[in-house]
Amino acid sequence: MNARQATARTAPDARGGAIPTHARDNAAGPSAAVPPTIEVRGLSKTYRSKREGTVLALDDISFTVEEGEFVCIVGPSGCGKSTLLKILAGIVAHSVGTVAVRGKPPSDAQNRLGLVFQAPVLLPWRTVLQNTLLPAQVLGLDPKAAEARAHDLLRMVGLEQFASSYPNELSGGMQQRCSITRALLHDPSILLMDEPFGALDAMTRDTMNLELQRIWRESGKTIFLITHSIPEAVFLADRVLVMSARPGRIVEEIKVDLPRPRDLDTMSEPAFAEAVRHIRGLFGIGGKERPHVD
């Protein structure tokens, strides 16, 4: 146990995390300029629906996410945020434009990213440990090393003592933490999160946000997170992309310069309030003209 932790700590990591990571491996090559981790250019998505005919879900979306960056996307429900995330995950095909994840199409077998849904999506017949180990089995990783890593991750999120519990024995917050350990197990350099804490109560949600910030700082991952909570986006992100209602367009990109690590007091700082107010203004909430968005 001690030996393993010691070797883990020797891994050179700028943020000094206990979990070893190869997140910066592809940045090490001196030859080429570092491409953005996620690059989306002129992406549109249309789909056919029986009732409405051809529907334009996403319209001419362009943005990049740099390596190690924490980017949040906010938008009203039904604006195509989730579709965008599924396109990045290689689950759904896009219609027009180019999408590159680490320089390759998202469906490329090398792009094994970590995905966290709004629901924990744990397999009920597997224990917490077995659920965490799922990616290792799918990807054929060394079982011994994977198990050691799973225990490290479970310790990191405070689930170590529940390793042999089944999901239905855990609270919603604990289940969601387990789904995060699963997303991190195969050490993906990118974490895609679709309203990961949307189903949790306000207090658990605050705690989970702090937790996620810590995980991000310790692991150096690139995180792309969808939310419909503006304060949550501002609290977590380096950059917030604001999306319009359907068809989804990126209306504005806001850089959040609040110092890290942020804590709950950050939310009462004027700069925080200013950023939140600014984004709300984009949706017309709090203004006089268009009081409804959702």
Binding site: A89, G90, I91, L123, P124, V138, Y166, N168, S171
Partner: protein, 289 residues
């Protein structure tokens, strides 16, 4: 964030808040053993009612005679074709073989139909066509084609158990949560890996509902097959006892069939409890509240 509110809230309540054990009462005793008690009362009522009204034995014999017939059937010579042992062995073999083979084919076919569009287009019309045929009506044909041995009975049983498994497996595989499949897609999992690790386990509650039906149908297939033509088995025994107007013997064989059916269903339920400990128990009648 190493402790959780729920974890501490989930500790068992202190002992003094547990409900006190109800004091001994006749009403409580009756309530708990209502099933057994009503059975005893029913048997006694039948026994004396049938004797009192002088119902002839060749119409409906009293329970005591059925019991005597049961005891006589289990007495030596053990290997005689008129005793129960050989006949139970035949019917049980037929039923178990149909159950295993029919279920296996049904699960396989259900998976193929869901996983491969081509198979679905090709096979579904036949499946629907065959399913609307009352399968037991095929029993006489099967005896002509496959003879008086156990083959014709097993095939009839396979045909009966195949469909519930096909339908249930297909329904189960089609209703797997989308998120679970997308999770595997995000890992770029191979199709077979997704099927094996996520889709099939998710469909198991449906599969087991099919297996419970198949347990009943497999015995039905065996007995109907034996009625139509056979040398041995409880169905044959029922026919020969009927012909001899030995209704008690006939009903005794029926009791054995009932016990066999219950045993097979219990075995499936036991396996389900072991494998599907994670699935919510939906309104089961035998779930004690």
């Amino acid at each position: 964030m190493s402790t959780d509110v729920k974890a501490s809230a989930d500790t068992p309540p202190p002992a003094d808040t547990l409900p006190a054990r109800a004091p001994f009462s006749i009403a409580g005793l009756i309530d708990r053993h209502l099933g057994v008690l009503s059975f005893i009362i029913l048997m006694l009522a039948l026994e004396f009612g049938l004797r009192y009204f002088r119902v002839p034995d060749y119409v409906l014999p009293p329970p005591s005679q059925i019991f005597t017939a049961l005891v006589r059937g289990f007495a030596p010579p053990f290997l005689s074709p008129s005793q129960y042992y050989v006949n139970i062995a035949t019917t049980l073999t037929e039923a178990l073989l149909s159950f295993v083979l029919g279920s296996a084919f049904g699960i396989f076919a259900g998976a193929m139909v869901v996983e491969f569009k081509g198979v679905r287009r090709l096979a579904l019309p036949y499946v629907i066509g065959l399913q609307s045929v009352p399968k037991v009506a095929l029993a006489p044909l099967f005896v002509v084609w496959f003879g008086f041995g156990i083959e014709s009975k097993v095939l009839l049983g396979v045909l009966l158990t195949f469909f519930p498994l096909l339908i249930n497996t297909a329904a189960g595989l089609s209703s797997v949560e989308r998120d679970r499949i997308e999770l595997m897609a995000s890992l770029k999992a191979k199709r077979w890996t997704t099927f094996r690790m996520v889709k099939f386990p998710s469909a198991l509650p449906y599969v087991f509902a099919g297996l419970e039906m198949a347990a009943v149908y497999s015995i039905l297939g065996a007995v109907v097959g034996e009625f139509v033509g056979g040398n041995s088995g409880l169905g044959v025994l029922i026919l020969s006892r009927n012909a001899a107007l030995d209704i008690a013997g006939s009903l005794a064989a029926l009791v054995i069939l009932a016990v066999m059916g219950i045993a097979l269903q219990r075995a499936v339920a036991f396996a389900r409890g072991r494998l599907l400990f994670w699935a919510p128990v939906h309104d089961r009648l035998d779930a004690d509240s």
